[in-house]
Subunit: 385 residues, 2 copies
């Protein structure tokens, strides 16, 4: 198995891109990543996307993005795993390069959601849940997470405002990320007073519907060294699934898929959670941030929130999370998010994170979650010195 | 690179399954394939599907099928490349096993289209075309193919009824395939008199909207030999893309993607077209059958139809095609079709094709086409003696 590195990164600003199309967004990220990598040829293109069919009437993004990016003819596919579609494409790119089936793979995540804001986006996102046994009962994605959050508060005795640190941290970090959607600080008062969406989830617990594209170029690590590229080696790559419907789980507050995915990645990297210098977690809702910290071994059951309340998740804390704004404040263009996480981790490991630089960041973990924990994809990245 | 074999196959009958769901169809194919392979464990599951979001409000089929098939936890994704989604999943499964990143991969193609017959299915299928530059102009998938067919007739001087042999052959072969959707013989009169859809394409030029699922189990070839499995080695696997919009091509009557994909597969297999004993082609429309025969090197430009008119495409002809009914008569549940082709090729190479057995079949080629040739995926399979 070959050692694989990310040798180039690219991203568009996350936001409401009403004046441009899906293929143009992808192109912008692709051009930046290819230029950054300094490659003149790629062997394959994997596109992570969840909603282009439902929201733009366009499937077949592999061929579409390949052609529009000037790579007509190249092997290309779309990969989908709900909100983990970006990391799914990254995982398959990793498999191809690690297994010596390709040398240079371009992975792009792209999503354009804001053309269809409101009910249509909510209904489209519900396709990540179980259509027959959840959505058909009137559950949307946010209401499923609201049930989980309420249960978490009940089981462990937390108050609503105890979740505020995740949001405050994400918005603080996004202030210095020019690609982030939001550049507004949030305090406890703003968090508590935000508009309610599905009690107890309010607007400040929820990542925003957004447009965006991000891309990475994968190649064997010895290429990266030979070309003198600073960047990141992928030292762990793992996927696990769980039931799509939350009611089928052994315990709704334990993300078993996230635990299995995390520990498979630790095992491959031959490290434990204590060696992770920062964690780009999947804070689609603040309850998901808490649950994923616990599943990944950074906190005991019910302790994910405690980590945040104790001030450990900031840039200078014990475990910085959402270092460039996370899903909450950078924005969550669903199929692109997993690639944004990879791009941001590489920025950290290259010392390119400016005011958000995690001191001495050597190993970072990124985790992309599809549905309410039904697909969990974890990658562990290490600095190339 | 490891040698990869298909060691198990499974399929459901193709048709209108109004009394069952997407996950149940997938399960039926998965159970058959896993039993046929005699494996008690799989490393990963790749699902080929195009339309579950649009037609069933359900994405996230990787996790959904994994859980429903009793494989909760396993690595799983959905792969999409329009009507080539099935072969795209097969290709990625091949990459994982050939590159030693997985030992046993289950690949399932599933599609459920008939719950939404009529305009909604036509509109969903148009997502394989270019949404901005084709569909937005009112072109559907069938009208794009109608333009190609008309041009073909004009350029080469063929009449409408010259296309009849493809349909007659497909329906004749489907008579003996219990999994096929149609069991009616078609003659020239029935072909010519069929209801017009988009002139010159009539109902007998078009593959039907259908439900179905098919599955294969991939493993290293030395396992197959050790277990004494008769089956098929994958000796060629190749993907090429082209423009999604037909008007962007150098020549609308030349499927460049199909030519590149075919010749890459021949090169890997170290054979030429003359060594192919049968060809499971992508006869979504009869014009596609003609164009793909030319692109794959079985006929000169404009000669694809001649091959059919000369009686060469029957079971005992020089190049049998659509040996179990093809897309036209077995049916075309789009994301499943590429896996049906693989299943049928293995039936031929195991001498399990009953009345449709191609004599002395040793090497078969399968080709799955997404859009009007924008993604073309070719696999060449060889008998395991």
């Amino acid at each position: 198995m070959r050692d694989v590195a990310i040798i180039g990164i690219g991203q568009t600003k996350v936001g409401e891109h009403w004046d441009t199309g899906l293929r143009h967004l992808a192109l912008e990220a692709v051009q930046a990543a290819v230029k950054d990598a300094g490659v003149d040829h790629i062997d394959a293109l994997y596109v992570g996307n969840m909603l282009s069919g439902e929201l733009a009437g366009q499937e077949h993004l592999g061929a579409l993005v390949a052609d529009f990016s000037g790579m007509r003819g190249v092997e290309a596919f779309k990969v989908e795993a709900a909100c983990a579609s970006g990391a799914a494409a990254l995982r398959l790119g990793y498999v191809a390069v690690a297994g010596s089936m390709a040398d240079v793979v371009l992975v792009v995540g792209v999503e354009k959601m804001t053309d269809q804001m409101g009910p249509q986006a909510t209904s489209a996102l519900a396709m990540a849940a179980d259509a027959d046994y959840e959505a058909a009962q009137g559950l949307s994605f946010v209401t499923i997470n609201a049930l989980l959050m309420r249960r978490y508060m009940y089981e462990y005795g937390y108050k609503k405002e105890d979740f505020a640190p995740f949001t405050i941290n994400a918005h603080a970090n996004a202030m210095h990320n020019p690609y982030a959607m939001f550049h507004q600080r949030v305090d406890v008062k703003a968090y508590v007073n935000a508009r309610m969406i599905a009690d107890p989830i309010n607007l400040m617990d929820s990542s925003p519907v957004a447009d965006g594209a991000a891309a990475v170029v994968l190649a064997p690590s010895d290429w990266a060294r030979r070309l003198g590229r600073k960047g990141a080696r992928i030292i762990g790559s793992a996927v696990a699934t769980d039931t799509v419907a939350v009611h089928d789980r052994h315990d709704p507050l334990v993300l078993e898929g996230a635990a299995i995915s995390s520990y498979k990645a630790y095992e491959q990297a031959d490290i434990g959670p204590e060696e992770i210098d920062f964690f780009e977690l999947h804070d689609a809702f603040s309850i998901m941030a808490a649950l994923s910290l616990e599943a990944a071994g950074f906190a005991q059951r019910g302790g994910g929130l405690r980590l945040a309340l104790d001030g450990e998740i900031g840039i200078h804390g014990r475990l910085p999370v959402a270092t460039m704004g996370g899903l909450k404040a950078r924005g969550h263009p669903v199929g692109a998010t997993g690639i944004y996480q990879a791009v941001e981790a590489v920025q950290q490991l290259r010392d390119q994170a400016s005011e958000n630089q995690v001191p001495n960041a050597r190993i970072g973990m990124i985790q992309n979650i599809g549905g309410s924990g039904a697909t969990v994809i974890t990658h562990i990245l290490e600095r190339i010195e």
